[in-house]
């Protein structure tokens, strides 16, 4: 299991488009991928779930990946967050 801390950098937060990017990337991997915001845990392969987090700019999330390709999935999603989903 890999657990890392992520920060939402882009101004508009995890609205539709960033949420869609997360789901698209997460769906490529076999492992379980969860996002935890203030104890509210959702599955990252569900766009409704990711949007429901309503994570604003500056919020801290935890990404938990668990399974055969957990490291790769964790790295790629972390990169998405770091790039501000291409919105910076």
């Amino acid at each position: 299991m890999v657990r890392i801390e992520l920060k939402v950098l882009n101004r508009s937060g995890l609205h539709t488009r960033p949420a869609a990017s997360i789901v698209k990337v997460a769906s490529k991997y076999k492992c379980e991928i969860e996002l935890d915001k203030d104890g509210f845990v959702i599955n990252s392969k569900s766009i409704i779930g990711v949007m429901t987090l309503a994570a604003e700019q500056g919020s801290i999330l935890y990404l938990i990946t668990n399974g055969i390709d957990e490291k790769e999935a964790s790295d790629e999603i972390a990169k998405l967050f770091e790039s501000g989903f291409g919105e910076i």
Partner: protein, 564 residues
Amino acid sequence: MNNDLINLEYRGIPASNGISIGNVYIIKKSAPNLINKAIIPEKIDSEILKFENALTQLIFETNEVLEKVANENDNVTSIIESSGLILNDPYLKANIIKTIKECLSAEASIVRQIEFQKQYFINSKDAILRERAYDLDNIKGRLIEIIRNKSVYKSLPDDCIVISSSITPAEIVKYKEKKIKALITEIGGLASHACILARSFEIPAIIGVKAACKNFINGEEIIADCFSGTIYKNLELTLKRYYINEISHLIEHKKKLGELVQIEAKTIDGRRIKLKANIDALSEIAITVQNGAEGFGLVRSESILLNKNRLPKEEEQYKWYKEIADRAFPFEATIRVFDFGSDKFSLGLSKAEDNPALGLRGIRLLLSRPDVFEIQLRAILRASSHKNIKLLLPMITNLNELLSSKEVIKNVMKDLDEKNIDYDKNIQIGVMIETPSSVLIAKSLAKNCDFFSIGTNDLTQYVLAADRNNEFVSDIYDAMNYSVLKMIKMTIKAAKKQGIPVSICGELAGHSAATELLVGMGIDELSLVNSALLETKKKILSLNYEKAKLDSKRFLIEKLQIND
């Protein structure tokens, strides 16, 4: 006919500009409300199959639409893509199947699960997320239509005005092909995906027209004035003639501008310059949007005081800012807080000021009158829930004024938090660079704010100590004066170092001779009077950024002795 019934008016919210005259075509959507329709256990498998088939069909329809918009801009494709992702959401699907297995019909299970998910969106503090509830409604509605074997598109005649309770992004794409003349809906939000699409496809639209499906009949001729959000029926000839005339004006106007409006302002070698509009009044919004403004780079909020000798109350101000923000969406509106002095507005000062331009004005006045400042900030922040408002502070001359203003903003935010009022917690705060002092301390200002906006009119006046309205010194007042240009260059340099964007508002921005120089200096954004928007865009499209950079560098070294 009874006189009262002639030119009968209905009102809604203008969602996409334009004027249309056409025949009504009503698309009725039955509101599915079958929360508890039970089935016998033997029917579970066939109900699951019904649901799965409908889902497959809807995914197919969505993919079809996605192919059609493949060449549109990112905004459009990502909207359709995201509804596709919702349809492919494995948890939504699993939950609906689970509900069917609890002996509820497919339709009832769809309604129950989507309504359940929707609650999260509706109860969100995030206004944009609340708009996404419409997307779920659309999906729910369409799935049930498919199950009931309804197709809404087939019978749609060409050139009609469609009236419907609500509208999906996929429907808009189909309507575009059918060349519908306008779109009227009973519900929906300005930031909804459907409205964003209507704007990018230039389909005139009015939303929020109460009981529209009941108040009109199929085939009757109506006028949809989507600039003001007014619909007329039982048309009288004079009104119709007036609008036919307006439409031909619009067509002419559009022809004259050619395709410029839709094109992004970009140099030949791809440097993107944002072109925004300066606005003073709500009435100016429509025309600037029509001319392709990418939002409003300078909203002079003091114009709300025009013809008033009292300060508008918070609610009145809020409505004004909110309408500006909504109509700018998805673009941004930069609202400059009140910039007035004792000459413009009675402040109850004990003594008249001899020289108001150098007196208690702009941020000085606001900081000395926290009652005025706080009410305005509250109103602006409340209007910021779509996260597309930026705050701009005028007449800053020292760092302390910026820090004190930020303190006031923080306190107003705290108060809003306590009252649980929604606003943009990360609202960007910018400094208006218009005093020589602000240029000289630009570096420390840049470290403490999110953007700069250079107000060239006042900057010129203060740098050259010449009143632009005084004919005796009007030859001295020159925004292209080397001292002014040097100030602009220094500001851009400080901003770039700190990585914050710089825009120029003020007449210099629309000065055709200045465009190349400003672009070459590295400006990110120009905010212009409406009449200069397209001319400036034309100019930018013809520029080569690398060459402009070299030319301006040479100019700066030769004329201004600036070498960096």
